[in-house]
Homo-oligomer: 412 residues x 2
């Protein structure tokens, strides 16, 4: 793998009906690249957000949480800037984040609380509001739909990412064809940017704010929370989902078949975006997928998946293409999950390398299959704990010298 | 720092009265370096062990736990081999570990259960008992005391370590001068060795098995469990402490002033050894010390210390000499501990870089002091959470390209 590859079709956020996007450049990045994006529904609509669990939160995150609550989960727009994260900026930072929302609200004719702000980039510096506010004023009247607008928005939210990330899905709910779209950014936490993971999702499905929030939490837990580049958690991570109901059809008010179908499509979309994130991880040259089965319960499965995906020894083994079952069993054992080595099975691709407490004896054919699996761009690890029904999947990327270079040689 | 430096004086295990050591080469390492060590008390004495929490445990660890229990915590000797860890070897592995103990017992004239075995090195391979048993038979009659014998033993337990590690301390208990000594090995978990952390400690203090066990647990928690090279946990980690009472004086039977004094000396010794481990961490070029204060309780202090010491972004910042307060506050925030950013203070050396939710404005003199502190061989980070009395100290090492090279290019 010579580097991450952008999806050929970036048509995403405005594939669902009733959404439009705008983006542009106000001058926050030294590179002069686009740094502003606006995602808007035609009218305020049910929306949900999931935010970083880091206790040191950026000011825009705090304002976003407050606006979502104050609006009863009904948003008109999300405004995003890259180049400056507005983190560790105190009271002035809070006022600046609110001012971004007010500027959008004035242009679109909605309430300030119906807008959520997101910022990503250098931390510890104040936003240059002399650039940001006119910038928002300039792009807001140019909201548009279509492939090009989406592609531009996907690029405007990037910081250290190498490629833009976007995806979309369709699903039929009660006879109505519903569309979901999303973009995201993030490639590790490169300082001083703390390169935040941001994801913005839209759908024309009809669903009330409460089940929408549950759905987004489920999907985030099963996708973005199960990928890891370097175990670190940004102070600004945010996932936002707006659902305007423009596709028509019955409004989803509670769990049931329609909720499940929408959740599955959204999960699939989020996993696609999460996969793109890992592929673009700092210094990543390879991706690995950890499939865990047979755990005592899902929580244990998650522990094992995380432990394997985050282990620097597993990550370097993937980098070096070394089929090192010892590192895999070590990472399983240290996970904190219930493990009985004599019931544990570990496979790389279709080759079982560890079983019943012992490494397996491989035939020459199996040895070759193992070498091929480890050399692939995507390495599949399967772990069966043999204890119960808990299962999950994690994604990780390898750890390379390039990660060290990026993160050690960057000087604030 | 051009690499770890061995202590000039390796006199350690046999500084306390009534202990002797022997070591030699039986041919388990391709390099032909020494691979066998024996540590013996003149008679069975109160002993304690702390072992890996990894649920995949090596056979010698399981045998060691059983022997300590069966002997009522009264050991005569510890036998160690390097070059082969006897991990993931099943029933045969268990029998081999017991056979090592039996061979020692027959030569020294004690019970098999009074001997604990430790093995470190390649995993998934059976011990070559045709070499090990005669090897033990050859060194056991050559038990000796003194600087050279200790230095040889410290070298015989090494695998990928660059230098031997040893230390000693003295303390006066109720008018009696008591001595403690120790050696250890470990430098990360290099595959396929899973380069285990092993530490062996001796003292001529008089103390019963029960308080000795409590003391060793306290000391391990405050030293070896607060250092990190790469977050991974070996399947064979073991710390063993033998206390033969040869210094004379009242036997310590419960907590009190004598217990506290002995515990403090042992803690100091263990921290010295742990520091030597970190300095010899795989690819390490620098060490950093994380002092946490003002946490709600000690558990929270520990969470913060661990989170900072394990963060790859902090480790790469130390490697690059970048005074990146953003990464430090991020690592504090993601630790899971109670954190109120407005009460948080972060300092590098004597320079405060973050206070009251904001980065501090540094004078030119402070900037220079900061650069000097980050460039030092040992970087001191101080974190005050401003919430309570919880405190602790963690040690970590930087993350370098050399770590990647060692762990990615090693082929099983």
């Amino acid at each position: 793998m010579s580097g991450p590859v952008a999806p050929t079709n970036l048509h995403s956020l405005t594939r669902p009906k009733g959404f439009s996007v705008a983006s542009g450049t106000c001058g926050l990045k030294p590179s002069g690249r686009p740094d502003l994006a606006l995602i808007a529904a035609d009218a305020p609509c049910p929306s949900a957000g999931v935010f970083t669990r880091n206790k040191v939160k950026g000011e825009p995150v705090k304002v976003g949480i407050r606006h979502l609550r104050a609006s009863g989960g009904m948003l008109r727009a999300v405004v995003v800037n890259s180049g400056c994260s507005n983190v560790a900026t105190g009271e002035q930072g809070r006022r600046d984040a609110v001012a971004m929302c007010r500027q959008v609200a004035e242009t679109l004719g909605c309430a300030t609380r119906e807008v959520v702000p997101c910022s990503t980039g250098v931390i510890g510096r104040h936003l240059d509001m002399g650039k940001v506010l006119p910038g928002i004023g300039a792009i807001a009247p140019r909201l548009a739909r279509g492939r090009q607008a989406d592609a531009d928005a996907a690029r405007a939210i990037l910081t250290t990412d190498l490629v833009p990330k976007a995806a979309s899905r369709t699903v039929t709910l009660g006879g109505k064809r519903v569309t979901l779209g999303g973009i995201c950014k993030g490639s590790g936490m490169i300082a001083p940017n703390l390169a935040t993971m941001l994801a913005f999702l839209t759908t024309d499905a009809a669903i009330e704010p409460a089940p929408l929030k549950a759905l987004l939490q489920e999907c985030t837990a099963g996708s973005f929370n199960r990928v890891t580049v370097d175990t670190d958690t940004s102070t600004s991570d945010s996932v936002l989902l707006m659902a305007n109901g423009a596709a028509g059809g019955r409004v989803i008010r509670k769990p049931g078949a329609s909720y499940d179908a929408l959740r599955d499509a959204a999960m699939d979309l989020c996993r696609d975006l999460a996969y793109q994130l890992v592929c673009d991880g700092e210094g990543a040259t390879k991706v690995f997928r950890v499939t865990v089965e047979g755990a005592k319960h899902e929580r244990d499965a998650d522990r094992v998946g995380r432990s394997v995906a985050e282990s620097p020894l597993v990550k370097t083994a993937v980098h070096g293409g070394d089929p090192n079952w010892g590192r895999l069993t070590m990472a399983v054992g240290k996970s904190g999950a219930a493990v009985r080595p004599e019931l544990l099975t570990v496979s790389v691709g279709r080759v079982c390398v560890f079983k019943a407490g012992m490494p397996t004896r491989l035939t020459a054919t199996e040895q070759r299959a193992l070498t091929t699996a480890m050399a692939a761009r995507e390495v599949p690890f399967a772990i069966d704990l043999g204890l119960g029904g808990g299962r999950c999947e994690w994604l990780g990327c390898d750890l390379s010298r390039e990660y060290i270079r990026i993160n050690a040689e960057y000087t604030t």
